[in-house]
Amino acid sequence: MAEKPQTSANFSSVPVILLLGLFSLPLLVMYAYLFIDTISDTEVGSLIPSEFTLRHWSFLWETKTGKPNIWLVTLNTFIFASCITGVILTVSSMAGYVLSRLNVPARGFFLAGVMVLHAFPSVTLIIAIFIVLQWIGLYNSLIGVILVKAAIDLPLGIWLMKGFYDTVPWEIEMAGTVDGASRFTVWRRLVLPQIKPAMMALGLFSFLTGWSEFILPQVLAPGAKVQVLSVYLASLIIDDNNFDFGTFKAVGVFYVVPVLILYVFFQKHLMNIYGGGTKG
């Protein structure tokens, strides 16, 4: 068949589009108002915004009493997410290669272990981790929570990288070894460039999960100096007597926009990883 397979003409797509559109309405409304409410005031009892205002965004230039500076928090979040990405990419690109390609002892066992841990609900370990971090003095530090978060996401990273390495043709490596390169050089110079798109996808994914992570920093690093955006926003919502959704949403938009930008540009990469099974 020369022409591409088309959707069948036997079933109209109009009813399904209408149906799903209806179901998607609550989500669309929530996201639309997330943005609308940050730049407008709405009178009580009304759904239509009545006036334009920028006052909800004042958190950007005024530090709230008892709260850390927003830019410090943003910097913390960025450091947190970047470090996690760096650790996961480095460690899992090496481990994934070993598991995919090298004859190492207990390879099968290690693979099974990674597999189990990948499905294992790691957040249940948070109590033990909390106590361990207090013992070794990494409680309330970014380093501690970075290491924990990276370790928890590692099995998924290793598993994905192993899968990506599996798709690289063996011939490339065989040619490399025959040409006299060591396995490390083969990995570094020949194999790694092949999986660049995969590294990109995993890197993005790690950055996004790091950027969004809430419960680990909340429990392991709640201090003002090391606060990340999720904890900052949560504390804002929890302790405020005067519920000001406009401000909450402005902080939320400030927090979510980088995520949405990355998502729009790299949707395809991310779909693959999210489809492959993640926690949540």
């Binding site: 068949m1 022409e3 036997n10």
Partner: protein, 351 residues
């Protein structure tokens, strides 16, 4: 049941695949849609079975206009190239599926499946799953499924493409037998001219979304309307020589071969032409002597095939009963049966 395509057009987006096609398949007839890939034959088949709807024109089964009917209401049986057997169902469930979705009683389905299975000789495979069947058996199951609800029309999409050479021969006659026994109107889509010629009553040969010629296999072979048809049919294929008209004769190059032909009377001198010569019409028999040098020889067992280069560089192919006195490099002087040649104008039309 007669099938009629009336000014049928189909485009995907802005790509026009078929425009204003007319085609009639007589009741009980088996017609081949033959053409190279991309010619629109599958598109036509998909429109007939209703998976796609025509962009314009009508499709009639008998006197019933089915143009806008969904597949479910057309009563057609289709054998797909990949057979499309449902992997999670047994053979029996596969064959019974068209009846099951019509909510026929289970006992009834069982009986009808048994009957049709006997017809296609797979009675003892009913409990198996498609993955446990050979290619030929899968083919028979697909046929049984297409035939079980006595469709008005049977459509076959490259049904033999996935079989090995021996099975292909067997299924060729098997499908033809079933079609004749059931008296069903059938359309066979294929790119294989041997399949089309051996199985069908008539062939519609297609090129770029148009039907170039419709005829019985022998008519089409002996009386092709264009050089495309002539070169598509026949194995080994026809040789086409480029030359021009000169005083009612076909002339090849400077001082080359000169072939007076009746078809060329009234054609102005110097008109560019091509001459089609089938391999069996160039050899030891025939009237016009042609000299040349053998550049290629191939034995096919019963026959030998030779490529002969003429002094001007064009090549004539010859098929002859086995002989071992000619080797590549030899100069030969063989005869050409000028009455069996075809002359085509530059645009490919037969003169």
């Amino acid at each position: 049941m007669r099938i009629l395509l009336d000014k049928f057009s189909k485009s995907f987006g802005s790509t026009k695949v078929i425009e204003d096609m007319d085609l009639e398949v007589g009741s009980g007839e088996m017609l081949a849609l033959l053409g190279p890939s991309g010619c629109g034959k599958s598109t036509t088949l998909f429109a007939v079975c209703g998976i796609h709807r025509p962009t314009a024109g009508r499709i009639l089964f008998g006197d019933r206009d089915v143009t806008n009917l969904p597949s479910q209401e057309r009563n057609v049986g289709v054998v797909f190239q990949s057979y499309a057997l449902y992997p999670h169902m047994t053979v029996e469930e596969n064959i019974g599926f068209p009846l099951m979705v019509k909510r026929v009683a289970a006992a009834d389905i069982k009986k009808q499946v048994a009957d049709i299975a006997a017809l296609v000789h797979i009675e003892d495979l009913l409990g198996r799953r498609p993955a446990q069947l050979s290619g030929g058996q899968q083919q028979r199951v697909a046929l049984a499924r297409a035939l079980i609800r006595r469709p008005d029309v049977l459509l076959l999409d490259e049904p033999l493409a996935n079989l090995d050479a021996k099975l292909r021969l067997e299924m060729r006659s098997e499908i033809r037998r079933l079609q004749k026994e059931t008296g069903i109107t059938a359309i066979l889509v294929t790119h294989d001219q041997v399949e089309a010629m051996s199985m069908c009553d008539r062939i519609a040969i297609m090129k770029s979304g148009e039907i170039v010629q419709i005829a019985t296999p022998s008519q089409m072979y002996n009386d092709p309307r264009t050089s495309f048809v002539a070169s598509f049919l026949g194995n080994p294929p026809i040789s086409l020589l480029k030359g021009k008209a000169e005083q009612g004769a076909f002339v090849l190059g400077e001082n080359g071969l000169r072939l007076p032909l009746a078809a060329l009377s009234g054609i102005p001198d110097g008109t560019a032409l091509s001459l089609g010569v089938r391999p069996e019409h160039f050899g030891t028999a025939g009237g016009v002597p042609v000299e040349g040098r053998v550049v290629f020889a191939e034995t096919q067992g019963r026959e030998n095939l030779y490529d002969v280069v003429l002094p001007d560089g064009s090549v004539l192919r010859s098929i002859q009963p086995v002989r071992d006195d000619v080797k590549p490099g030899d100069s030969v002087r063989w005869n050409l049966d000028s009455a069996s040649t075809f002359v085509f104008a530059e645009d490919g039309q037969r003169l």
